[in-house]
């Protein structure tokens, strides 16, 4: 099994799916000849044809609307929005139209569109490139938000997303694109949507997180385990709708939980997870629900990112506080 980074894994998933189903189209800004701003679609237009992997005008709402129209015409579009903040330009297309379509049509037809976009801090991007909008969008019914934490998950989750008949907003963390390398099978495979991944089992405390914070949590765990704290780590994989059953089962076992997100306290999906835990496992809790999140400002300018973003140290601190309660 070859070692791959997330860019390679996503490219492989897209290519294999497009080879399997000729109704899949990949389009967006610069995704064709240039292979995407992060080279995720590199070489795909040569292999699959520039008529299937193609550039669009620079207009996000147009991209989203075109995806919807193509889906109505029987295609399975996988449009790319270069950076999450630019999705704001296409909110009607994403949440007002794609997410609503099946409901609006009385359940008779869905729109199988997987919108790929990038997000996430730690790479010093300009404004509106790294914004964590998953919490905002997670408040819309009818759409899944999927966030892989590494190459293996990225390939399997993207494949499952493309094959799903409902719209998916697939968010790729910029910092994870090339920093995490894993063994990724050559053959196509699916990782089920809506199911969280118990990354490691433990008995003392549960960490619930997703995306890049999975790796920061792992770093924190290394240090915490030296002090004999046994930690169960849950990676949500699908952050909306999230897998509350796995979370509750774990919290009931450990009695303590820390919810970790890179997003601001106001947004992200942490609030909703904490509310669900409070509703579903209040009497099994031995301490208040801990939370790690960024502060409630807009995403920071590049030079301030390292302080603004939660990291292994903040996670470790919160876990120790929760353990001490």
């Amino acid at each position: 099994m070859a070692i791959k980074n997330m860019v390679q894994a996503i490219n492989e998933a897209l290519t294999q799916e497009m080879e399997r189903d000729e109704r899949i189209l990949v389009f967006g800004e610069d995704v064709g000849t240039n292979g995407g701003v992060f080279r995720v679609t590199d070489g795909m237009s040569d292999k699959l044809g520039i008529d299937r992997v193609f550039d669009t005008p620079l207009a996000e709402s147009g991209i989203m609307g075109m995806a919807m129209g193509l889906a109505l015409g029987g295609y399975r579009p996988v449009p790319e929005i270069q950076f999450s903040g630019f999705t704001m330009e296409a909110i009607d297309g994403l949440l007002g139209q794609l997410a609503r379509h099946r409901y609006r049509m009385g359940g008779t037809e869905g729109v199988p569109v997987t919108v790929r976009s990038t997000f996430g801090g730690g790479v010093g991007t300009p404004e509106l490139h790294s914004d964590n909008l998953e919490g905002l969008f997670s408040q819309s019914p009818g759409i899944r938000i999927v966030i892989p934490s590494g190459p293996y998950d990225a390939k399997g989750l993207l494949t499952a997303s493309i094959r799903n008949n409902d719209p998916v907003y697939f968010l790729e963390h910029l910092k994870l694109y090339r920093s995490i390398k894993e063994e990724v099978p050559e053959e196509s495979y699916e990782i089920p949507l809506d199911k969280a991944h118990v990354v490691q089992e433990g008995t003392d405390i549960t960490i619930v997180t997703y995306g890049a914070m999975v790796h920061e949590s792992k770093k924190a765990i290394e240090s915490l385990e030296k002090d004999g704290i046994s930690i169960e780590l849950i990676d949500l994989r699908t952050v909306a709708p999230f897998d509350i059953d796995t979370i509750l089962a774990s919290v009931k076992k450990t009695g303590r939980v820390v919810v970790v997100q890179e997003a601001q306290r106001l947004t992200g999906v942490g609030n909703q997870i904490m509310a669900e835990i409070a509703e579903g496992a209040m009497y099994e809790l031995e301490a208040s629900i801990g939370r790690v999140a960024a502060p409630d400002s807009h995403f920071p300018f590049g030079q301030a990112e390292s302080v603004w973003l939660p990291n292994a140290k903040t996670i470790e601190e919160q876990v120790r506080n929760t353990m001490a309660e």
Binding site: M68, L70, G73, G110, D245
Partner: protein, 367 residues
């Protein structure tokens, strides 16, 4: 800058607003003027078109009545615009896909949606949106602009698949101010989509007059920015509306990309039944437009040809009234929609959370 230089620059600026073609075939006095095009409609087709128009006017009148009686919810009537809607649609095929706005429920019925569904739509019942097999269209769009970008995408799908189908969509003059309006025509142009875009310029975006929407002398000229053809047509002239749309369909099917048509029409009634148009427009203006009503010139034109008379019109009115009454009764008998069913429609397979909510609402609905 010298006066001479300024004059030169001023002249250049004036030239930048290119005039667009204006088409009229049947003028306000029911005279054939053939400004740009001639009618190709046979007498039988003319009668069929007239029946459609009378049907549309009657549906409007009956819906307004039903609205006032409280038998339907809020209604955006389209009285005055029926030609703009139904004569353009008359030029399309049943397999062409219609993206209507909230004011275009009547053309959607004409395109195949059962009248009962229309009543249910005005009442806010999901069954309205489940269109029978073979009806090519979406339910009426309430937010303005989305349908334009979607029509660009579907027109592109038709082009890719080599289908003899066109995506056709309406917007109003207010809607043409939306960003999606431009993105739709621009994308369709770039990808040579098989799409016909229609701007129904009924002179008001709710209460805001046309000249407050844009400094552009015509809305058709907005097409130039996307590099696609734009054409303006008398929206009270069914013959011109039909001819222009028919040719636009042929033009896009021939691989030339999309066409934008602006229809110059007027909404006789309010924006919705809860709106009071006397707050923003004068009786004098309304009277002027009432004189331009396509019904007057069509009655005269077809009457002179000896192919239309009052009895024929009354027969269509009677039939339509009956059709409306049946639809209202049928809608009364439609089973009440259930929240538990609506919840099932959010995803193809309900998520565990929604599954729990379904159970909760099923219990609630039993009580």
């Amino acid at each position: 800058m010298t006066t001479k230089e300024f004059k030169l620059f001023n002249d250049m600026m004036k030239k930048s607003a290119d005039a667009v073609p204006f088409v009229q075939i049947l003028d306000e006095n029911a005279k054939l003027v053939n400004k740009g095009l001639k009618s190709s409609l046979t007498d039988d087709e003319l009668v069929a078109l007239m029946k459609n128009l009378v049907w549309g006017r009657t549906v409007n009148e009956r819906l307004i009545l039903a609205g006032r009686q409280g038998r339907i919810g809020n209604l955006p009537p389209s009285e005055g615009q029926e030609a703009s809607q139904l004569a353009t649609l008359f030029a399309m095929k049943k397999t062409d896909f219609l993206f209507p706005t909230y004011r275009d429920v009547i053309p959607l019925i004409s395109h195949g949606m059962p009248m009962k569904n229309a009543v249910l739509w005005y009442r806010g019942h999901v069954a309205a949106n489940i269109l029978p097999e073979g009806v090519h269209g979406l339910p009426a769009q309430v937010i303005i602009g989305s349908q334009y970008v979607q029509a660009a995408g579907l027109g592109m799908a038709y082009k890719r698949d080599g289908k003899d189908q066109v995506a056709m969509t309406y917007i109003g003059d207010g809607g043409s101010s939306q960003g999606d309006f431009y993105e739709g025509i621009n994308f369709a142009g770039v990808f040579e989509s098989q799409t016909v875009f229609i701007v129904q310029n009924n002179q008001y975006g709710i209460s805001v007059p046309r000249d407050m929407q844009s400094k552009a002398p015509t809305l058709a000229q907005k097409a130039a920015a996307a590099g696609i053809p734009g054409i303006q047509v008398d929206g009270m002239d069914p013959l011109a509306l039909y001819e222009v749309t028919k040719l636009a369909r042929e033009y896009t099917m021939a691989g030339n990309g999309p066409v934008l048509i602006e229809t110059l029409t007027y909404r006789f009634g309010p924006h919705t039944l809860s709106d009071d148009p006397t707050r923003y427009r004068t009786q004098e203006e309304l009277d002027e437009w009432l004189e331009k009503d396509f019904m007057i010139r069509m009655r005269k034109h077809l009457g002179e040809k000896g192919i239309w008379n009052e009895e024929m019109e009354q027969e269509v009115i009677n039939q339509t009234t009956e059709e409306m009454n049946e639809a209202l009764d049928a809608a009364d008998n439609e089973p009440k929609q259930k929240v538990s069913q609506l919840l099932r429609n959010v995803f193809e397979v309900p998520t565990p959370r929604i599954a729990k909510e379904i159970k909760m609402y099923e219990l609630k609905e039993e009580n």
